[in-house]
Symmetry: C2
Subunit: 190 residues, 2 copies
Amino acid sequence: MAKAQFDRKEVIDKSIGLFWQNGFSASSMQQVVRTTGLKPGSIYLAFGNKEGLFREALEAYAQKSIERIRNVLDTAPSLGEGLCRLFEAVVQESTKENYCSCFLIKTRLELAAEGGALHEFASAKLNEVEDLLRSYLEKKFDKTVSRQRAVSLMFHIFGVRVYGYQKDSAEHMRQGLREGLPWLPWDLDA
Amino acid sequence: MAKAQFDRKEVIDKSIGLFWQNGFSASSMQQVVRTTGLKPGSIYLAFGNKEGLFREALEAYAQKSIERIRNVLDTAPSLGEGLCRLFEAVVQESTKENYCSCFLIKTRLELAAEGGALHEFASAKLNEVEDLLRSYLEKKFDKTVSRQRAVSLMFHIFGVRVYGYQKDSAEHMRQGLREGLPWLPWDLDA
DNA sequence: ATATTTTTTGAGTGATCATTCAAGGTAATG
DNA sequence: CATTACCTTGAATGATCACTCAAAAAATAT
């Protein structure tokens, strides 16, 4: 039995880069071949088809994202400060050269029409993020407030992810976040 | 001189439907041919290429959207109530069967990578919406507050547009909007 | 009517799409 | 070493892509 000669994680990471930037439709398998260095046959044996590879890439991205949220919230001195740090990281990310918003959000929007598995998967993962945030909020607030604020947090995540394409908008976004999330300890976070 | 035999507005409207739902890359010119009933030659004579048609469709969508915002805000009994009505309309829209988010937002996300004219155009129009909202806010609030709240309104618009794909979430979204936009007169709007 | 100008038609272009597969290579097993 | 089992290779497939163009039709101008 010959084992796969390529590093699967590496291939997935490169695929995340490609699909995240260009989306599903605008990424061709020939680009995947160029990006990963694999030949078509190897890709199809390992991942089935374009959707299979995209799915694994999206899955890996989602897992990393959710882990990062958990990690930041678990290590911060308080929930509020953790949330502020998460938002600051998203704002920071939007200032980079090749800003790409969020892979999950882009997939949710791009692939909603065909109602396919990828759209469902992206939606499920975004819901998972909301549930996670709510579970953290429920440590400090009652259920009703927690649910409301979880939705509000998602609005602001989506908001920053879309707004972030505007150049030099980081400071405006920080102001907007303070306006909509006044219950977070923005000033402690210096 | 023969005049065009098709109704340009009608063709644009049908193209809006197609491109809004599927995006640029996932909409083929053959679908455009089927949707509009025009033959390829006529389309290319009238609009140049796929990007030209997409651009006109996006332009028409943006104009309609901005006009609608103006209209609602001008006819409402107060600015706050007008804004509430706008949000309620967006929430309502998300409950429909073939919900498609917002054509401008989808374009901004889909076509950011190539940095092309269409991404720039969508971004410019979204900025125009923000400027419009700010100009209305400045009638009631000072410049600083108006700018902050305009950003906050955009966050919530983007938020609802992305969140809206979740089924049966209208009531949750309304709660989330109250949470993040407490300065709006939600209860007067019954 | 006739001439002129513009539009419509729809088959056809070469390029690129996702995907396949037979042949050759490589590693573990007996 | 031989066999087995899996992997890689890369040219080839048919479909579909955006787009073109010469000829027919249609509408105005004279």
